[in-house]
């Protein structure tokens, strides 16, 4: 072999090493993001490992996190060990591939027989692990079940283990979302008084997205010009159409706006993975209710997902303590849609329902905060009769004209913040 060839081979190997090392660095960054290493034992994960052992009939179950040079156990059921060296064969190998990693008889399996848990006094013989894969595709560690006897595992048991691993990941994602929301809210609060404007901007999209098939208008009015409003709206393009939300926090001023900001950004985080309105509200409620503020607050939200179809769009809507949106039909009648659901962030374990309504081309969906009812229908009014009368003759006039007419009806003397979204199906 010539010296030049050796040099080329080494260079190629070095490049391969580099790309897997970069991948590993990114994976470790993802591990750090969840801030889970060396945290104390925790009920949620303890329950999952206990459940895994019970359902699969194995004495040992572990939630492992693969760190740079060790495998740390977030939860360890049936064994007192808290971490082991990062040796190939078990968790360290399981995270380098997709899907379950099964070793039925470790002492005779070439992948594992040299691993010290297998060769050493622990005498591991059976291992089944499922990677904990984050929403952006990084394997943080595994949920695994272990036995000191060799054994088989059925396809159904593998599926159970995979479902439990998904629960572990869901829990990690929810905690991350909650922490980010709280960090943001804390940052917002520190600057509260003189950053009302900045805060206001964080509650509203900078501009409405242009999405084919829809025409949009949005308006926002603050009752007290010196204060930030507690209402918000948001519009996000989805793979099949558009998701729309309007919301309001109880109370007024910067504290209400802080709660609104936490809700809006948590919802956005949830929305990066989940387009279903009722599921999104359920998750949001769990997160907010689990981390109550002092004094306690709730938010109300109407959340809709519009999916384009040949007739117009299917509107799937879920309400959390929020007034029902209105649909102005092309022919000039206005109807309220949705079923009342409980307010968000107060009680854990609350269920949210959703309804699906067919919207046709030429229909206009109007989503609003209760300030619009208050200002157009009367002080303390929760009935939308007058608002519907106002909207009927505006059918088909286009979102901007409808928004202008609503603005005129709201006027200048407001007792509550007003926010609304108008969406026409083209």
């Amino acid at each position: 072999m010539l010296i030049g060839e050796v040099g080329q081979r080494q260079g190629w190997e070095a490049r391969v090493l580099d790309s897997s090392r970069i991948e590993e660095m990114r994976r470790l960054e993802a591990v750090r993001r969840y801030d889970i290493l060396d945290t104390p034992p925790d009920g949620a994960f303890e329950r999952i490992t206990a459940l895994a052992s019970r359902l699969l009939g194995t004495p040992i179950s572990i939630v492992s996190v693969v760190d740079e040079d060790r495998i740390w156990f977030k939860s360890h059921h049936g064994v007192e060990v808290e971490e082991v060296d990062r040796e190939p064969g078990l968790c360290a190998s399981a995270i380098l591939q997709e899907g379950p990693w099964i070793v039925a008889d470790a002492k005779s399996d070439p992948r594992t027989l040299a691993n010290s848990l297998v060769a050493g006094e622990f005498g591991l013989q059976f291992y089944a692990g499922v990677p904990l894969t984050t929403f952006d595709g990084f394997n943080l560690g595994t949920l695994c079940v272990l036995d000191q006897e060799p054994r088989e595992i059925s396809a159904e048991e593998v599926e159970t283990l995979s479902d439990l691993a998904s629960l572990v990941v869901d829990e990690l994602e929810l905690r991350l979302a909650a922490r980010r929301a709280l960090e943001l809210e804390g940052a917002l609060r520190r600057n509260a008084e003189h950053t009302a404007r900045t805060l206001q901007q964080s509650l509203l999209p900078i501009e409405l997205p242009a999405v084919e098939g829809f025409r949009l208008a949005a308006r926002y009015h603050v009752a007290n010009k010196d204060e930030v409003g507690g209402d918000f709206y948001d519009v996000v393009p989805t793979p099949s159409g558009l998701a729309l939300g309007v919301g309001d926090a109880c109370g007024k001023g910067t504290e209400a706006a802080g709660a609104t900001g936490a809700a809006r950004w948590t919802l956005r985080t949830i929305f990066s993975q989940e387009w279903n309105p009722a599921v999104a509200l359920t998750r949001l409620n769990e997160l907010l209710a689990r981390h109550p503020e002092d004094p306690r607050r709730y938010v109300t939200i109407a959340l809709a997902s519009l999916t384009l179809d040949s007739e117009g769009a299917k509107c799937t809507l879920s309400l959390g303590g929020h007034p029902k949106p209105l649909v102005v039909r092309g022919k000039g009648s206005t109807e309220a849609i949705g079923e009342a659901g409980p307010l968000i962030g107060w009680s854990q374990g609350v269920k949210f329902e959703e309804v699906t309504v067919q919207l046709f081309k030429g229909d206009t969906l109007v989503m609003f905060t209760d300030g619009l009812l208050e200002t157009t229908c009367g002080h303390g009014e929760t009935s939308d009769a007058r608002l519907r009368e106002l909207l009927n003759p505006l059918a088909g006039k286009g979102p901007e004209a409808i928004a202008d007419a609503l603005d005129a009806a709201v006027g200048d003397e407001m007792t509550d913040d007003v926010g609304f979204l108008v969406v026409e199906l083209l």
Binding site: G251, Y298, T300, P342, L343, G380
Partner: protein
């Protein structure tokens, strides 16, 4: 613009129950009065707290928050909590907020 609202809160014992009767508007400016009426309620030996809001002409989200706060506090100390409401804006607010079924009623 913010309205100046007026509220009267009367709290008195009836048997082993505390009746809190509110007349007027329960909103962001009057909510603290209900909170104040509920402070220390767990130390008075009541077995039940009744919030009478039949004569509340207007209640906003802050008012509802205070009513929920009191509910959690009272029930958290093992006492019963119930509302007295009449048809009207307050009842509609409880329906829109999806919490009507969270309460028991006198």
């Amino acid at each position: 613009m913010r309205r100046d609202t007026v509220v009267t809160i009367d709290a008195h014992r009836e048997g082993d129950a505390l009746w809190i009767r509110i007349v007027g508007e329960l909103d962001v400016s009057t909510e603290p009065e209900l909170i104040q009426a509920g402070e220390g309620v767990e130390n008075e030996g009541y077995s039940k707290v009744v919030l009478d809001i039949r004569e509340v002409a207007f209640m906003d989200s802050s008012g509802l928050r205070a009513a929920l706060w009191l509910k959690d506090k009272v029930e958290g100390h093992g006492m019963k909590y119930s509302l007295v409401v009449s048809d009207g804006p307050v009842k509609r607010l409880l329906d829109v907020a999806g919490v009507a079924s969270w309460f028991t009623y006198e």
